[in-house]
């Protein structure tokens, strides 16, 4: 049976299990219908021209593994940013692990999507925000149809959450292959402030496919910083669909660090509904082998006097392939928009590929929109210069690459995250230098 049929036919069983009478039953059913009509994306779709899911979809995935698996903290400690005090939401094979998690309902909620969907206490928030900005496209619809578990974060007005929140999704390999569909909802009310670190990590060589959807609402004057660490095993693929709506004077930043995995597709969408909004999208991609990373970003400038800043750096070795498609839409009403987009790429090997496409649709006439896209190689003259000063070629290359990517790291606000990323980059480049640049 093809994966699509298998998924569609499993829906009734899923619904029976979760709660047929739930308010979102209708949303789920409609989403399933959507997915049934649309199916998985193929390369015939413009947005999927350079990313094929064919091979990934051939696996015989377990859809709703029943088993509650446990893992030892010692085995996964390294995947946490463990040198900071943080709230934690940990999921093992799609199931919540209370043992590894640290939630709260103190002045704000850091808890489970499943309980938010089920309990009356959260009804108003769910009604107002759930599935409100997520697109009705194929993969998001697929996630919505089976939306049940994930992170639920609600930060009320004027609350500054001092500890970052870490969301970790582990797969253990207890199934031959697994499909996970985490669904996250993050609502940050007026003048509230939160930092979130998100990671998907397979602990096995068994195939894993994650189709995640995250909706983030940043109300007036809110600040949200999201860090996505993508350094997964070579048989783990990720489709990350993130939708962000911002109100006036809010600042939302998303940093995406893509260092590993099989196929990684990031659909990152910003919608600016208010004035004086700042949206920050940054990414570092360093991949090799046959890895594939696809960044599809969208910033929709809907109202006047807003800004967006995009900076994506990519380094590709061996037969790695990558896509950067950065779409900026400036509506007619969105005068005085300041939209900045930068995408720089380095191809280390002749066999590596980057398809880079800035896509600007500007309907207003008094705006500042700039974009720069470069594809190049490492500078041989710089390498010789460094070698002449005693820095071996390999370390010199690493230093050049790190310096190249460093503009993205500068805006990381959590020092421990910055340190971790720096360490991951050094590991990735196979060098033992501190990069304390």
């Amino acid at each position: 049976m093809e994966l699509k049929e298998k998924i569609v036919s499993s829906y009734v069983a899923f619904e029976n299990k979760v709660d047929m009478n739930s308010d979102i039953h209708e949303i789920r059913s409609k989403a399933l219908q959507n997915f049934e009509d649309l199916g998985f994306p193929t390369k015939k779709l413009e947005a999927w021209k350079y990313t094929s899911l064919n091979a990934v979809l051939k696996e015989d995935y377990s859809l709703f593994p029943e088993k509650e698996n446990t893992i030892e903290l010692a085995d996964v400690k390294k995947y946490f940013i463990d040198d900071i005090d943080a709230y934690k939401l940990v999921f093992i094979d799609g199931k919540y692990s209370s043992f590894l998690s640290e939630t709260t309902h103190d002045t704000f909620d850091v808890c489970l999507m499943s309980s938010a969907l089920a309990k009356p206490k959260y009804k108003a928030v769910i009604e107002n925000y759930f599935n409100k900005i997520a697109k009705q496209d194929n993969l998001t619809s697929l996630n919505t149809a089976f939306a049940n578990e994930g992170a639920y974060i609600y930060i009320p007005k004027n609350v500054e959450v001092e500890k970052p929140i870490q969301i970790l999704n582990f797969t253990t390999g207890s199934e031959a292959a697994i499909l996970l569909q985490p669904r996250n909802l993050i609502v940050v009310e007026q003048n509230a402030h939160v930092q979130i670190i998100e990671r998907h990590q397979s602990l096995t060589s068994h195939p894993a496919l994650t189709n995640a959807v995250t909706e983030i609402f940043a109300a007036k004057d809110a600040t949200v910083d999201l860090y996505k660490i993508q350094n997964d095993a070579t048989n783990a693929s990720l489709i990350d669909n993130t939708y962000i709506e911002q109100k006036s004077n809010s600042v939302v930043s998303v940093h995406t660090f893509s260092f590993g995995g099989n196929i990684t597709r990031n659909n990152l969408n910003f919608y600016q509904r208010g004035e004086h909004i700042d949206s920050i999208l940054k990414g570092i991609t360093i991949i090799e082998g046959k890895q594939h990373v696809d960044h599809h970003t969208l910033v929709h400038h809907i109202e006047p006097n807003c800004e967006s800043h995009q900076d994506y750096k990519g380094i590709y070795d061996e037969r790695a392939t990558a896509v950067f498609n950065g779409k900026v839409v400036v509506d007619k009403e969105a005068q005085k928009t300041n939209a900045y987009q930068q995408n720089n790429n380095i191809l280390i090997s002749d066999k590596a590929t980057i398809n880079a496409k800035p896509q600007l649709e500007i309907f207003a006439d008094d705006v500042k929109c700039s974009h720069g896209c470069t594809i190049g190689q490492l500078d041989d003259a710089a390498l010789f210069y460094m070698q002449q000063r005693g820095i071996p070629r390999k370390e010199g290359k690493a230093l050049l690459m790190y310096a190249f990517a460093n503009t993205v790291l500068e805006s990381v606000k959590i020092p421990e995250v910055k340190q971790r990323i720096t360490k991951l980059i050094a590991e990735k480049l196979g060098v033992d230098i501190g990069f304390d640049l």
Binding site: A382, Y385, Q387, R389, G390, I391, R393, I433
Partner: protein, 249 residues
């Protein structure tokens, strides 16, 4: 210290050095002069190990050992320093961190631990004062947006930090005003000792007023065609190169 015998080299099948001989002993300063295109910078780059050049014949020995198969960084670890005519800009890497990395990689190659941070800072302070380099300058990206003079001063600063056995200054005087020239030359002179040696490549006599050479060589058509003492530089300044070319005919 450095012994070059019958060195022949080419790039893209174009012959640039045609049997060059040069011997530099510890404690000596050699100046290499010559018209444009004579092969002066090529010689500097080949000693430093730039891979684009193909050495077709001859030998380069440092302390009696053939270095022609060594990678540029290995030559650097053995004490060769080249002050570049056009120092490369490396955005995102500060002067301080670059030199720290260079020193520690050199130490690593010798099996030594990293230099303690305290010692490193002290040394950076000392050497930057020697070259009248401002503290703020050290945190800027390497050579990025530096003026010609700043780039050259930074080269000599790095030389001071790395304390090479053999320093080759490739047109370090070009682009320098008279004050910067004095500072750079003063820096080089302070670093000179009986254990190290300097090769100064220049077009002009004026640098040699400050860094006084023991030997002056004229490089022409890929060979050293004339050698003399410091007075040869004065003669070249006064008369140009034509008389030497004529002597060769």
């Amino acid at each position: 210290m450095l012994k070059i015998e019958n060195l022949q080299a080419s790039i893209d099948d174009k012959s640039i050095l045609n049997g060059l001989n040069l011997e530099v002993k510890a404690g000596e300063v050699h100046a290499i002069m010559g018209p444009n295109g004579a092969g002066k910078s090529t010689l500097a780059n080949i000693i430093a190990g730039k891979e684009e050049y193909e050495v077709t014949n001859g030998a380069i020995e440092l302390h009696g050992e053939d270095i022609s198969e060594l990678a540029p960084e290995e030559r650097a670890h053995n004490g060769i320093f080249l002050s570049f005519q056009y120092p490369v800009e490396i955005p995102g890497v500060s002067v301080t961190n670059f030199i720290k990395t260079a020193i520690n990689e050199t130490r690593k190659a010798k099996g030594l631990e990293d230099m303690p941070a305290k010692d490193m800072l002290k040394k950076i302070r000392e050497k930057s004062e020697l070259l009248e380099i401002d503290r703020k300058f050290l945190s800027r990206s390497l050579n990025e947006g530096f003026s010609g003079g700043e780039k050259k001063r930074n080269e000599i600063f790095q030389m001071a930090m790395l304390e090479p056995k053999l320093a080759i200054l490739d047109e370090t005087d070009s682009g320098l005003d008279i004050d910067a020239l004095r500072i750079v030359a003063n820096g080089v002179n302070k670093l000179k000792s009986k254990d190290n040696a300097v090769i100064v490549i220049t077009h002009y006599q004026r640098l040699l007023d400050y860094i006084v050479p023991d030997f002056v060589h004229v490089l022409y058509d890929g060979k050293i065609v004339k050698s003399g003492d410091a007075s040869l530089a004065l003669e070249l300044e006064a008369k140009g190169y034509d008389w030497i070319k004529q002597e060769l005919v």
